[in-house]
């Protein structure tokens, strides 16, 4: 048996899913898309039941990846029963999606969630009435309190049924649906989509297009608008007769602070600053702990084994990669994810997007782009993956360039380890300033030359609520797992590759080859090029390799302050790490990935050369 949770974003779907499945969650990529499907198994009455958490969507008509995925899932009858999760506080708007779901005639139950919040707002929902109107069983739940969640499975398996609800469309639309069914045998759901120009059946699309045009002429309204209006009207009717507004408790509206320019913007800056600062402090403490333990208990005993040199080299590379992965993934990225999930679950991120819209606009982007940018401070890989939320390719491309320049936590380690430690804290900040100026210049340039049209921001503000520790941790864990799956294998493979190169003396040849650039252009010692090369596969490895090659951890004794500064800034700007390139390639294609890599090499070398010239 398979059941699927379907609903609007923010309807509490994930919380229900988490409570139903516990921690046994797998994340599956749907074939041919980058959208994640979360699946989990539970045992109910000695039967294995698979639960799928479909991505949150507002509609089934659109062409976004999420909508396409859910539509395909429904068309193929991907689950025996659909659990439609509705937000009790926004029932009318949530029913709009429900009316569309019924058109695919799956077996459904309706779960009206967040009933606790609705009670606080004084909304009284008549379950029997709603159930009669929708034609399916209805259950009231409060996932945040765990109320009645255990009744979902029995109800879904026992009495999920095909809804009798049918949207009364405008008579012209109904006539068109009938004629399409008669002439082409197309089912109602497909014809409705075809009338709105969606689908891949050319014959049906052409026929529907001609009818749609006539309807538009008659109504002075697009078919989409007519259909949407019909559905909204039905939802309003249902909501009006099943929801009553009782006494409303007065609550303080935090938005009066959060969405105004003042004090909203200072709060936004303070929150982001605090997030990054705490990630940095906690991260560096944990990293030291992990790296030390790993070195003492695993790497040192391994080198003491005195294996044959080639085997030792390979084994050492694997261990170094593991150490690097664990040393960066858990301390920095995991802490960052916890902070980020916390911000998301409170509903603050949408406020941030609203306030940042204006500033982002200057960069050729929109408010929503602040989310990938903030994630970029933690790690570039998930930031690139989150680019999906931007609607046009133009925005995705611009944002990808900028994200790959944002100093991620690994690059922060370079700045702190080299510049702050040996040159001075003020100079460390100056690197941030230089990077931000470059980001802004790049954005201004890109927003002029990148083809494609600008698209505005339409974001539903999620309700402010108290985050749940369990859910925050579960979410962060899922994200870090995804990161480990992408980054870890790459780290190990590149580490072995580089280890072999070093073993066969290729790196020495490389140093000789690029010596003119390293020594003449950047004014760095020859071995710095190998360190930069290592930095490609994990940024802060540039710093560690440099220490190894220089033969001392006290870099200040072998390189001048200017050299260290130049090295740091070049390694920060120079080529995003290998995992980033891989995920850029997957998300945006080879062209953008190559362009970004080439651009960053050019930028790194230019800025390095300029600094070298200035200090001479």
């Amino acid at each position: 048996m398979k059941i699927a949770l379907l609903g609007n974003p923010g309807s509490g779907k994930s919380l229900i899913f988490n409570q139903l499945t516990g921690l046994g969650i797998e994340v599956n990529r749907y074939p041919g898309s980058s959208v994640c499907l979360e699946c989990g198994n539970v045992c109910y009455k000695k039967e294995k039941i698979e639960i799928v958490d479909l991505p949150g969507i507002y509609s089934l008509d659109g062409n976004s990846e999420e909508e396409l995925l859910v539509r395909k899932f429904l068309e193929q009858g991907g689950a025996e029963v659909i659990v439609a999760v509705l937000d009790a506080t926004k029932l009318e708007r949530n029913l709009y999606l429900f009316t569309q779901v019924t058109e695919f005639s799956p077996r459904v139950i309706a779960v009206v969630n967040m009933i606790d919040e609705a009670e606080r707002q004084g909304l009284i929902i008549d379950v029997d009435k709603l159930s009669t109107l929708l034609g399916v069983p209805v259950l009231l739940t409060a996932a945040s309190e765990g109320r009645d969640i255990d009744r979902i499975l029995p109800l879904a398996l026992g009495s999920g049924r095909v809804s009798t609800l049918q949207v009364p469309y405008d008579h012209h639309i109904e006539a068109a649906l009938k004629s399409l069914e008669k002439t082409l045998g197309a089912p109602r759901s497909r014809s409705l989509l075809a009338l709105q120009g969606t689908g891949d059946d050319r014959i049906l699309l052409d026929a529907a297009g001609a009818v749609a045009h006539e309807i538009e002429l008659r109504h002075r309204m697009s078919v989409r608008q007519i259909i949407a209006t019909n559905r909204h009207n039905l939802s309003r009717k249902i909501a009006a007769s099943s929801v009553r507004q009782g006494d409303r408790k007065k609550t303080y509206d935090l938005d009066s602070l959060l969405t105004r320019v003042y004090p909203g913007v200072p709060i936004l800056i303070a929150i982001l600053f605090f997030l990054l600062l705490s990630v940095f402090v906690i991260g560096s403490w944990m990293q030291e702990l992990i790296v030390q333990t790993f070195t003492t208990y695993i790497i040192l005993p391994f080198t003491a084994l005195e294996l044959p040199p080639l085997v030792e080299r390979i084994g050492f590379s694997v261990l170094i990669a593991l150490e690097a992965g664990l040393g960066i993934a858990f301390p920095f990225i995991f802490t960052f994810y916890i902070g980020l999930s916390l911000l998301e679950d409170t509903g603050y991120m949408t406020r941030a997007a609203f306030l940042a819209d204006r500033a982002m606009h200057r960069l050729g982007l929109h408010g929503e782009a602040i989310i990938p940018m903030v994630i970029g401070f933690g790690c570039t890989v998930p930031a690139v993956m989150s680019l999906r939320i931007l609607k046009t390719r133009r925005e995705q491309t611009i944002a990808a360039f900028l994200i790959s320049m944002v100093p991620c936590s690994a690059r922060t380690v370079v700045i702190a380890g080299i510049v702050a430690a040996f040159v001075g804290i003020f100079w460390a900040f100056s690197i941030y300033v230089i990077v931000f100026i470059l980001i802004i210049l790049t954005a201004v340039m890109l927003s002029r030359i990148t083809p494609g049209e600008q698209f505005g921001m339409i974001v539903e503000m999620s309700a402010l609520r108290r985050p749940q520790v369990r859910l925050v941790l579960a979410k962060s864990w899922l994200r870090i797992k995804e990161f480990l799956f992408i980054a870890m294998p790459l780290l190990i493979i590149t580490s072995i590759g580089l280890g072999l190169l070093q073993y066969f003396g290729v790196t020495d040849a490389f140093e000789q080859l690029v010596a003119p650039i390293t020594v003449t252009l950047l004014g760095l010692p020859e071995y710095a090029s190998t360190a930069l090369l290592f930095g490609i596969f994990r940024k802060e490895l540039a710093f560690e390799t440099l220490a190894v090659l220089a033969g001392t951890a006290d870099l200040g004794s072998v390189m001048t302050a200017a050299q260290l500064y130049t090295f740091a800034i070049v390694s920060i700007l120079f080529v995003p790490c290998i995992s980033t390139i891989a995920v850029l390639y997957r998300q945006l294609g080879a062209r953008v990935a190559i362009l970004i890599s080439v651009y960053s090499v050019f930028l790194g070398l230019t800025v390095g050369a300029i600094i070298n010239m200035l200090v001479k």
């Binding site: 008509d61 002075r220 969405t259 408010g367 600008q454 339409i458 539903e460």
Partner: protein, 224 residues
């Protein structure tokens, strides 16, 4: 009476009453058509007997339901043909208008429909070119992409105001707005407005943030 003459009259009367706030009188109709008043008078009697026109006191001419339908159809034919001749075939505008005047009487409804569809397809090909041609076509299509819509945009409203959505311009962004319940006729209230025109509006109990360029595409009217 010649069918083409009848159609010309009905078209002219319909045009006149669309352009002006009042119905035409004999002398006004005669002036627009460039005919003598006496001739118009006698022709009107023919039209009354065919059931297209009814005469009101004071020499005012009004169309009956049948007459209006016929007039409307001729106007649509004229516009479609003129648009086709001038924009697709590239003929001079006034020549196209004259030609359309002759063709409109002979052409069938189906031909006009197909011509209209053909032009919509052409428009689909040149989608990114927001030219004069497209504007003209979309007003001809009578969809809500009516750029000449004179209602104020939601970005002109103040914080705390309650308004009703009247129309949404442009197609690209319309889909998500529709899904969130921003359909014509929907009441919304403006919860926050920043100085750059970005808005938070409340619709169906949900707060939705809109950037300035989206907000300016939403036309609203004040509830009466």
């Amino acid at each position: 009476m010649q069918p083409s003459l009848r159609e010309d009259y009905l078209e002219a009367i319909q045009q006149f009453s669309k352009k002006n706030t009042h119905l035409p009188r004999y002398e006004e109709l005669a002036a627009t058509l460039g005919k003598s008043e006496a001739l118009v008078r006698s022709d009107m009697e023919d039209l009354v007997s065919s059931g297209d026109v009814s005469l009101l006191p004071g020499g005012v001419i009004a169309l009956t339901g049948q007459g209006r339908q016929c007039g409307e159809s001729v106007i649509k034919k004229h516009e479609t043909l003129q648009c086709f001749l001038s924009e697709i075939l590239g003929m001079d505008k006034s020549v196209a208008s004259d030609e359309a005047c002759t063709l409109e009487h002979a052409v069938s409804d189906e031909t006009i429909d197909r011509l209209g569809m053909l032009m919509v397809k052409q428009e689909g090909l040149g989608h990114h070119r927001w030219g004069r041609q497209e504007k003209q076509l979309s007003s001809l299509q009578c969809t809500t992409d009516d750029e000449n819509c004179e209602c104020p945009s939601i970005s002109d409203c103040e914080e705390g105001e309650n308004v009703i959505i009247h129309c949404i311009h442009g197609r690209a962004c319309a889909k998500r707005l529709l899904d969130l319940g921003m359909v014509p006729g929907q009441r919304v209230s403006i919860k926050r407005k920043l100085s750059n025109g970005a808005l938070v509006v409340q619709v169906k109990g949900c707060d939705v943030a809109l950037s300035p360029e989206i907000a300016s595409a939403i036309g609203v009217e004040h509830p009466s």
